[in-house]
Each structure stands twice: as C-alpha cells, then as structure tokens.
C-alpha cells in the first residue's frame, strides 16, 4: 500500500502510521494517519472538519463528498493515502459566513435546503460542475448531482440555486475561480 505513495510525501513510521502531506482547503496540511484510514474519518476525527458528513459509508448517498484535485470523491470510500500530495476541498474551503462562495449565497437566498444534511456534498459537487461547465443546464446539473441523495425533496431549489450561482460567477469571473 505504502509503495503507491509518491516519494517524500509520506514519512515512514512505526505501526503503519505515516505523516501524510497534502493541500487542504488551499493550505498545506499534514496528518498522522494509517494510509488505509478513510478520508472521512480523518477529516472528521483528526482534522476537525465536520462539513463532510457520514451518510452511508458505501459511497451511495453523497453526503461525504469532497473535492480531490477539483473532482468530487466520496470521502467515506476514499483511503486517506490516496490524497497525499493532492488537494482536498471540503465545504469549509468553499467559503465562510463572512466570505461565502456564490453557491452558498445562492443556496441561502433560494432556501435550497430543509434538513441540510445533503448540502455539503451538493455544494462541493456543484462547485466542481461550474468549474468545468460555467453554464450548466438543468439536465447537466441533475446529471452532476445524481449520485447525491436528498430526502427532503429540495432538488428543484438546488438546481435553481446552482443555476443562479453559475450565472453570477459568469458575470463576475474574477471573484471566484475554480475550487482548489
């Protein structure tokens, strides 16, 4: 397992625990972890980032989605060893209440959420979509989010919010680039 880590990105240590280096929400990060630990466990259990949520543990619901080099992955089914040397973006990395990402602003503006458990995953997946397609249509948004479940039924509001955010980002591209 350790062999597939790029040289210099994981320091060998006793007991299978390595020091992994990667970029987390735009800043350099390191964590002591067994590389077979799940990314979700490491984010929540060691890095105190709770935006990625436990939903199924099998990559079937999307609540734990984060971006890995800009591409959505399910953190519950990704070994942390796979992120060494790469960039991880969680919902916390999109924006803050003081400086929200246009998607976060649009989701709140259109009240695109009820219980909200699905939102972290939807937000990062939507950010990735807009980064590769600045003007997605309804079908493209639905396709991009199809691996994400929402039980409260806010799908239409989510699609409208992604459309709204994409439009604003096209109008002011300098404010928000592609996610890290």
């Amino acid at each position: 397992m350790r062999a597939r880590l790029p040289v210099g990105l994981a320091d060998l240590s006793i007991g299978g625990v390595s020091q992994l280096h990667f970029t987390l929400n735009g800043a350099p990060a390191q964590v002591d972890a067994d590389e077979t630990e799940l990314l979700l466990d490491v984010l929540r259990g060691k890095l105190e980032l709770y935006g990625a949520r436990f939903g199924c543990g099998a990559g079937q619901c999307g609540t734990c989605a984060v971006l890995l080099d800009g591409v959505p992955v399910m953190a519950c089914s990704t070994e942390v060893g796979a992120v060494a040397g790469r960039a991880v973006t969680t919902v916390e990395g999109l924006g803050t209440p003081e400086a929200p990402h246009p998607l976060q602003t649009a989701f709140l503006e259109l009240q695109a959420g009820q219980c909200g458990y699905c939102l972290s995953g939807l937000l990062v997946a939507s950010a990735a979509l807009i980064a590769r397609n600045p003007d997605p249509g309804r079908a493209e948004i639905a396709q991009a989010l199809d691996g994400h479940l929402c039980r409260c039924g806010v799908h239409n509001r989510v699609i409208d919010a992604v459309t709204l955010a994409a439009r604003r980002m096209r109008a002011q591209p300098e404010q928000e680039g592609a996610p890290a």
């Binding site: 199924c56 619901c61 709140l108 959420g113 039980r151 039924g153």
Partner: protein, 700 residues
C-alpha cells in the same frame, strides 16, 4: 377565557417569553426544529404578537427545563397547536407590559401602542420599552388567556418569507449534533440483536480484541457495546463482534410479508365506524383494491446520540422529536427519576416521523450508566437506520362505492388493513436486550377531539367530498416488523387509494374526472383550489387515454379538516414511469411563511413521488433485508421533475400544518396520470417497471 392546550400545560409566561439585558426578546417553545422551518415560523408569530423586530428575537435552544413541554413535534401540529399557545403567551406578555407602561405614564393602556419593542403614545415614543420595564414585571406568573391575539389584518411578520434561522450553519460546515465533540468523549457501537428478543449465546471477545486491542467490551445480558477512543476503532470492533457473536431465538421473517396482501393473514383487531352497513340495493356497485408496502423514513444521516452519566445525573443529547418524551423514555428504560435526566436537542437529518432518532441516545444512555464519567457517542450505521429504525406500515385498502342512477357517489366503504401507525412510539430497540425485559402492553386508545377512536389508518380514509353515507372497516394487525409513524400516517396512502378510486368511478360512469369531483364538492375554498390547479396544469388540454403520456389530478382535505390540497402530475410511461411535471394548489389558511410553506409542500411532493414510484422495504432473514441505498432506491436529481406550487387564500382563517398534506394528492395524481397514459390502472405501489408491464398485460 380558555387557554390553548399547550399554554394550559405550560402556563408560566416566563417559560415562553423573556426580555434579556442585551436587548433581545427570548422566545421558547417545545417544538423541535429538524429542517421543516418551524423555529422560524413560530418566531414570526411571536414577533407579531409582541411587536418586536424579528431580528431582535432569540429562539431558545431546546432542552428540558429551558423550553415548555409540548410533547412530540409530530403530525404537522406545530403551527396548529403550538402556534396558538405561543401567540397567546406573547399577546398576554404584551398586554401586561402595556399596562405597566400605562401606569408609569398615567394614561389608559388603550392609548399606547407597541412598535419595535417600544411603547408609543399617539404615535410618539414614550422612552419606555420592554427592556426598560423588564425589571418591574415578573413574568413568573400563570397565563390567563385574557389578552386577545391579533387579527390577521394586523399581522406584519406573518406572511413574510423570513429566511430559515437554522439554514446558514448548514451550508458552511459543522451544524449537526453529529458534529458535536464533547471533552473526553468515547465512541461506541452496539452489537444489535438480529431481531427483538434474540439472546446472546456467545461472544468471542478475544476475536474482537484481536481487531481492536484496547476496545472496552460491555456485555450485559444480550446488550453488547463496543467502546473505543475513535469512531473508526468502534466501527472496526463492531465488525469483528458481529462475526464473533452467536445468537439464539432469532426471528425468521417470511419475505412474502413484504407485500401488503400478506397483512390479511395476520392476527388483527377489527373496528367499524361511520354509517351503518348498507343493506342490499339495486344501486350500481364498484370495488377496487389498493396496496402500499412498508416504507422507510430514509433519513439521509443515520441517527446518533450522546449520553453522559456523572454523579447520578444522566445527560442525553438527541436530534429526536421531543426532549421531554426522550426524558420519559430514558427514565422508563434506565429506572432513573426524570428529574435526574437532562435532555438537550441538536440539529439532525430530517426524520419525517418516528425514525431511528430515539434509539442511539438510549443506546448511549445504557452504556453511559454502565460506564460512568466520560461521555459516550453512539453513531448508527446506514444498515442500522434501514434495518432497525421503525418503518411506515404497509396498508391494504379495499374500497367499495355505490352510485345512484345519475352516477353520483352516494355510499362509500373503505376497508383497511394496517399495523398501528404509531406502534413503536415510546420504545427503544435496545430494550429487549436487557434482562427482565417485558414487552409493553397495548397503549391506551387515543381519541379524536370529538371523542371518537383515533387511528392513523383512518386519516383521509373517506374522500373529502359530499357523500351521503361513508363508513370505515379497519383491521389493525399485529405488526411483523417494528413500525411507527411516517409522515402523514395513513393519510397519504388512503388518499392515493381513494383518489385513484374516484378516477375509476368517474371513468366507469363516463364522467370527466375534474367535473366529477367538482360536482360533489360544495365547499367554495375547496372548489377554488381544484379549479386553480386545473388552470395551472392546463387541464383542458388533456388528451385521449392510452398514448403513453398521461395527465392526472387529485384532491383532498387533510384529515378532513385541515389544508385543502390539489395536485396534478404529467407523466410519460414507456418501460418505466417518468415524471414530466408536478403541480400543487393549496389553501392552508393563514400562511406564516410563504416560502417555507411552499418548501414543505414541494418537499412532500418529491418524497411521495418517490414512495409512489420506487420505494418498498424488503423483509426476510431476521427482519429487514433492504439495508442499503442500493436495495432501497429513492428518487434522484435526474428523476425529479419541475414543480409548481401555489398558495391560495393566504390570509384566511387559522394556520394549518402543511408538512404532510401534499403527499396524498400527489401520489394519486401520479397514479391517475399513469392510468391515463396506459389506459390501465396500477393499484399497488411502487409503480415499478414490472408493474407497468403487468398492468399493460392485464388491460382489456
């Protein structure tokens, strides 16, 4: 003057309202927010009655002792039952303060008005406000109910689409009880009995320790918990324990019970209500049978809870439907006095009724009492939520209609088989693992406001039209699986059946479905709803049946006395049913938060569309075998159609709960649209590819 029930139960005014030194008004209520927006809507009601700006309110976080005891947050009753109590309390507080201000100013109270929390005389500021007077007014007194609440024309906050108070946190990261980290907290998982009452015959603890050497294994009778420093270790230890445990007395579930027809073969108790059974007649008689399987709540986040036992005091953190009911449940199961238990509420995933939320906090409490000191966190797995949380009951509905010579529906019988819809209330799945467990007896019969027998299975069992004679025959079966309340109880399935049946009757007499309904609907507000819906979906364009494309509609009045709701669906059916568009028109009385109301209606439509097309709990093995999202698919983004929702008469009358009113009409509208598309009727849910094929084969 009589007090609203919840105010009578919690009469002390300071339990509801207070004015704090930081210039905020403190509002407390016993309704749990779980994403339905109730905290925001209730705060709007309070802001209006107090005349305090919405932004100056502080809504007290729910915890025993901190908020009034309003029982469970269920049945879309928060605005209907909780709203009047909060309004009356606020109105009385305003009146008390106004009287004190008037005395200070030496003027009649009638000369004073309140604006933005300050007292005005002839439109001018008096220098007095709630906060300057707060020191003189003791709200630790009982409400009298003598202060009238505002009439609708004087409400300002009510009717505004205030953004939800709980939503911002949920788009930036940590927001849920799941994210709470308590100092010294340990993580635990419970090795669940494969089925209730199963006995632990053996556990190879050494095998568990080989997986996680420092695991703390708790075994008490058949209750087994694996306690670790990290959640990942608890998961690992749990997986090892599952393989290392042997059980006796494991139930064998017959997979045939997955289909509602099987309910008829189970022991049941029978109840009859309504008009006496009709004797033989020459009237035309039509019958049809409908079915709905067991449905999972399908909460997106598996339930969790925390507990700490220290110095004889138990603290529980939960995202369930009520902090006081949780205290009662924990007291009963642990034997502790209620006063020794504090329950704190946190945000959780949507529950849609009685899901697993009550269980992990009880798991955690049982562990904490046996391991005093450090807090214990129990996170259920997806498989636990699907496999051990209560499910919504299956229902079999057999309907019979008699028509007069003109084709008008004059006699209606609904015969229903179901389990008690609120069966597992007040129980925890862990209980039967404990020594000395005795299965609870039958709960006392709940009554309707008019004194008649309440049963979740009877909600909307009779269509909401002018029908001369209606009756219900209900068979309440002993449930084969843990079942409890799911959004709308029997209301939505009954409306699916009843409103599908109305279309079948209309077709049998050669009537147009909308006209047939309007002809037996005298209530003007109901007619307005149905008429508006027909405009929204452009009903007159409806085409001949059997083209593969269908348009259907349905109507009901929730529980026969609540919101009036009509829905329409347009579908395309090839091998499968594809939703093209859904519409909803709703008269829900006085609307507190229009956008919140629409969000609830729309969400209910999507959930019910998912029930209609996809969902069925599969039984087998020791209980439930559909324990992953692969086994239990729900509607996805690419399958959710555009939805239009319109509210009518939004300033009219009392507010009516809207959380569970759109499901029934949308289910029937989809059913009617599918029947229109196929020229063949599907009467059993879900409407899968197999059922589409079967309906076409069976069609004449």
């Amino acid at each position: 003057m009589s007090l609203p029930a919840m105010l009578a139960a919690n009469p002390r005014l300071d339990r509801w309202v207070g004015f704090e030194p930081d210039g905020r008004a403190r509002i407390a209520f016993g309704r749990m927010e779980y994403g339905q927006g109730i905290a925001t809507a209730l705060a709007q009601l309070a802001a209006d009655e107090l005349d305090v700006p919405f932004a100056r309110l502080r809504v007290v976080a729910a915890a025993t002792g901190d908020v009034p005891d309003e029982g469970l947050t269920v049945g879309s009753m928060s605005l209907e039952v909780g709203g009047p109590a909060l309004r009356a309390a606020c109105a009385e507080v305003r009146a008390i303060f106004t009287a004190v201000a008037a005395e200070r100013l030496g003027c009649p109270a009638g000369d004073l008005d309140v604006r933005d929390g300050g007292f005005l005389r002839a439109g001018r500021a008096t220098g007095l406000d709630y906060w300057t007077l707060a020191g003189e007014v003791d709200l630790a007194r009982e409400a009298t109910g003598e202060a009238p609440v505002k009439t609708a024309d004087r409400l300002r906050q009510v009717g505004e689409s205030e953004p939800r108070l709980d939503l911002p946190a949920k788009v930036f990261g940590a927001a849920f009880l799941h994210d709470l980290v308590l100092p010294g907290m340990r993580h635990a998982r419970v090795l669940r009995q494969p089925s209730p009452g199963a006995r632990l015959a053996g556990l190879d603890e050494a095998a568990v320790r080989r997986a996680v050497p420092d695991v703390d294994i708790l075994v008490d009778h058949s209750f087994v918990a694996l306690i670790c420093e990290t959640e990942a270790d608890a998961a690992k230890a749990h997986a090892a324990a599952e393989a290392a445990a042997r059980w006796d007395g494991v139930r064998v579930m017959d997979p045939a019970l997955s289909e509602p027809d099987a309910l008829k073969g189970l022991p049941h108790e029978d109840f009859e209500a309504g008009a006496p059974r009709a004797g033989p007649s020459n009237r035309r008689r039509i019958t049809a049978r409908y079915g709905k399987p067991f449905i999972s709540h399908g909460s997106l986040g598996p339930s969790m809870g925390l507990a700490q036992f220290e110095g004889g005091k138990l603290t529980i953190w939960t995202h369930n439907q009520g902090v006081y009911p949780m205290r009662g449940l924990a007291a009963r199961i642990t034997g502790l006095a209620p006063e020794a238990i504090e329950v704190i509420h946190g945000q959780g995933p949507g529950c849609y009724g009685h899901n697993g939320a009550d269980d992990p906090p009880i798991d955690a409490a049982l562990i904490a009492i046996r391991r005093p000191g450090r807090p214990i966190r129990v996170q259920w797995r997806r498989e636990d939520e699907f496999g051990f949380a209560p499910v919504g009951t299956a229902m079999r509905m057999e309907l019979a209609a008699e028509l007069d010579p003109s084709g008008r529906l004059v006699d209606y019988t609904a015969e229903i088989w179901n389990t008690p819809h609120t069966g597992a209330r007040g129980s925890a799945v862990a209980e039967s693992a404990l020594s000395g467990y005795v299965a609870p007896g039958k709960p006392p019969q709940r009554l309707m406001p008019d004194g008649s027998r309440f049963s979740g299975g009877l909600l909307n069992a009779t269509p909401s039209y002018d029908i001369a004679a209606t009756r219900t025959l209900e068979h309440v079966i002993e449930t084969p699986i843990r079942s409890s309340s799911l959004r709308s109880l029997g209301g939505a399935p009954n409306t699916f059946a009843g409103e599908s049946f109305i279309d079948e009757i209309a077709e049998a007499v050669g009537a147009e479905p909308l006209a047939y309904r309007l002809a037996m609907l005298s209530e003007p507000r109901a007619r307005a709803v149905l008429t508006r819906l027909a405009e929204m979906c452009d009903w007159p364009r409806r085409w001949e049946a059997g083209t593969g494309r269908g348009l259907g509609l349905a109507y009901d009045r929730h529980r026969g006395r609540g919101a009036m709701v009509a829905c329409a669906a347009e579908v395309e059916v090839e091998a499968e049913v594809r939703l093209v568009k859904l519409w909803c028109a709703c008269d829900g009385g006085l609307i507190v938060n229009p956008d919140g109301a629409k969000n609830q209606l729309e969400g209910g439509m999507v959930m019910a569309a998912s029930w209609t097309l996809k969902e069925q709990v599969q039984l087998g093995g020791a209980g439930i075998t559909s324990t992953t999202w692969d086994d239990y698919p729900i509607l996805r983004f690419s399958e959710v159609p555009p939805i239009e929702v319109e509210l009518l008469n939004t300033r009219e009358g009392r507010p009516m709960g809207l959380g569970e009113v759109s499901q029934g009409p949308v289910m029937a509208a989809i059913g009617n649209a599918v029947a229109h598309a196929l020229a063949a009727r599907i009467r059993d849910l879900p409407m899968t590819r197999e059922r589409v094929a079967a309906a076409l084969l069976a069609a004449p």
